[in-house]
Amino acid sequence: MLPVSYFIGLAAVLFAIGTLGVLIRRNAIIIFMSVELMLNAGNLAFVSFARAFGLLDGQIFVFFIMAMAAAEVAVGLALIVDIFHTKQSIDIDQMNSMKG
């Protein structure tokens, strides 16, 4: 079958796109989605290695990462909704009520 590096390379590209998204987008929801993309890239790498080595452990990790992503989404979206209620904006550049 295919070399593992193809899958890892794809995962790394997705990870890089996610990182770029976090850095250049200013909308909190889009940033959060980019983080999800990065986690997804990590999962793809785990599953590829699991298949390459014939070790189930990699798949188990993906299960945990998904559960943790769900937990994070619950809290993260609650925070976003919360701040939108107060501020009517989720642009993180406008979050400058604190100055140093």
Binding site: V4, I8, A11, F15, G18, V22, A28, I31, F32, V35, M38, L39, A41, G42, N43, A45, F46, S48, F49, A52, F53, L55, D57, G58, F61, F64, I65, M68, A71, E72, V75, G76, L79, I80, D82, I83, H85, T86, K87, I92, M95, S97, M98, G100
Partner: protein, 482 residues
């Protein structure tokens, strides 16, 4: 799984079980008397603490090598649990007068604490990752606990976005380490490296990504941008807990992973770690000078302290001094925890509603009106600077000694010079307290005052009898099952 697995993690089970029971108990406590919850959670943490102390001694692994029980883990567990008690003492009156008293505060604090306790024992990258999440997610919520106050919400969102960003780095790094070593347990990684089965390039990239992820958590420069805003915006009692607990947990993971598993990568890692430590010390201390807000000042100061602690990481490949290095880091974490809780307790004492009373100028006149409080704050500032006879001095002493033993004279010099810089802004607080006239508004609250009293005493007294503590910390050297 068998019975001994359960007894090994008994402090953790107690903590989680107690928190879940408290969720139910909360239903029967009337809304005006939520202070009871603080007492109840403190009792739970104390039980857990007693168990952790009783467990002292012995080394074992549990849950098929997922967690390890050794001197390092017990030392950190005790530190975390005492920090938890201090965090409750700081919060008890503060959240009441800020009008944000809800029993979930204490429950979330206990969940976060259980994540930290798990981190102390973690011996597998997947456990490290889950512990990191378990301690962070309640902290995101606690940072936003003062909603709908805008700065608290902003702090929470920033902390959350940067936190989950860094978690993604840890995930991808762990995946690459798994690909390199075919396992994620730390002994397994060490074994794979030793027999030469590991793919070193993948391992290197994985280690770098994990370093970035954990670097965000402990706010190593350049991954520190969130720290000042989050520390300033979050309720002060949460900030104190975050500054001590989350940072200590991050270092627990960094020490465990880098000192034990990745030390063979030292050739590539040490220059990077050297530069990061130097940069963190320099930037943290210099930026702190211009801060007028005491919470921001302490935030930059906490970045600077991260720099001092991360200095020990440059000695990762010198196994003969690992004991001193880990001991020094743990000792410094204790010194930092005691001093920080004291300083934050003073900050909380002077803070009024709506973020008033948080400027350094608001401390004017404290020396004349409240000499005891000013004296305590002076002790904390001196300890942060590293002036004898305080814990902070000894912490720096042990760190510099370990770094010099490792042969990194340049880094130690940077450390000493930046400490001198830090004297400027720490002593400015002291000068304002004693030399300026003012009418500081102070609240007398029992738990806050006793925290200030005890931490001030500990900062001085423990420093006189520091040798046993350091010996104990050095015994905390990680146990690596063969």
């Amino acid at each position: 799984m068998n019975f001994s697995d359960l007894t090994t993690i008994l402090p953790l089970i107690t903590l989680v079980g107690w928190a879940i029971i408290l969720i139910l108990v909360d239903l029967f406590i009337p809304a005006q008397r939520k202070g009871i919850m603080a007492m109840l959670s403190a009792i739970g943490i104390m039980i857990s603490l007693v168990i952790a102390i009783c467990q002292f001694g012995g080394q074992t692994t549990a849950f098929s090598g997922m967690v390890v029980f050794d001197g390092f883990s017990v030392f950190l567990q005790i530190l975390f649990l005492i920090s938890g008690l201090a965090a409750i003492a700081l919060a008890y009156d503060y959240i009441k007068r800020q009008g944000i008293e809800r029993s979930e505060y204490y429950i979330l604090l206990m969940f976060s604490l259980s994540g930290m306790t798990l981190m102390a024992m973690a011996d597998d990258l997947i456990i490290i990752f889950l512990a990191l999440e378990l301690l962070s997610i309640p902290l995101y919520v606690l940072a936003g606990f003062a909603n709908p106050r805008l700065d608290s919400e902003e702090a929470a969102l920033k902390y959350f976005l940067l936190g989950s960003f860094s978690d993604a780095f840890v995930v991808f790094g762990t995946a690459l380490v798994f690909g390199a070593a075919r396992t994620t347990t730390i002994p397994g990684i060490i074994a794979a490296i030793t027999v030469g089965a590991a793919n070193l390039i993948l391992l290197m990239v994985g280690a770098a990504l994990i370093l970035i992820g954990l670097g965000f958590k402990v706010s190593i420069v350049p991954f520190h941008m969130w720290t000042p805003d989050v520390y300033q915006g979050a309720p002060s009692s949460v900030t104190a807990f975050m500054a001590v607990g989350a940072k200590t947990a991050g270092f627990a993971a960094l020490l465990r992973v880098f000192m034990a598993a990745f030390n063979t990568l030292a050739v590539d890692l040490v220059p990077v770690l050297w530069a990061l430590a130097a940069l963190t010390m320099i930037l943290g201390n210099i930026t702190a000078i211009v801060q007028g807000n005491i919470k921001r000042l302490l935030a930059y100061s906490s970045i600077a302290h991260t720099g001092y602690i991360s200095m020990v990481l440059v000695t990762i490949n010198q196994s003969r001094i690992t004991q001193h290095a880990v001991g020094a880091a743990l000792f410094y974490l204790v010194a930092y925890a005691v001093t920080s809780f004291g300083a934050w307790a003073v900050v909380i004492t002077l803070e009024h509603s709506e973020g008033k009373g948080l400027n350094v100028e608001d401390y004017a006149g404290l020396g004349r009106k409240y000499p005891a409080l000013a004296a305590a704050m002076t002790v904390f500032m001196l300890s942060f600077t590293g002036v004898p006879p305080t814990l902070g001095f000894l912490g720096k002493f042990y760190i510099f000694r370990a770094v010099l033993e490792g042969g990194y004279v340049g880094l130690a010099i940077i450390g000493v010079l930046t400490s001198l810089v830090s004297a400027y802004y720490y002593l400015r607080v002291v000068v304002v307290m004693y030399m300026r006239e003012g009418e500081p508004l102070v609240r007398k609250e029992f738990w806050l005052s006793s925290t200030i009293f005890m931490t001030a005493i500990a900062t001085v007294i423990v420093s006189i009898f520091s040798t046993p503590l350091f010996t104990w910390a050095s015994k905390g050297i990680m146990f690596i099952p063969k």
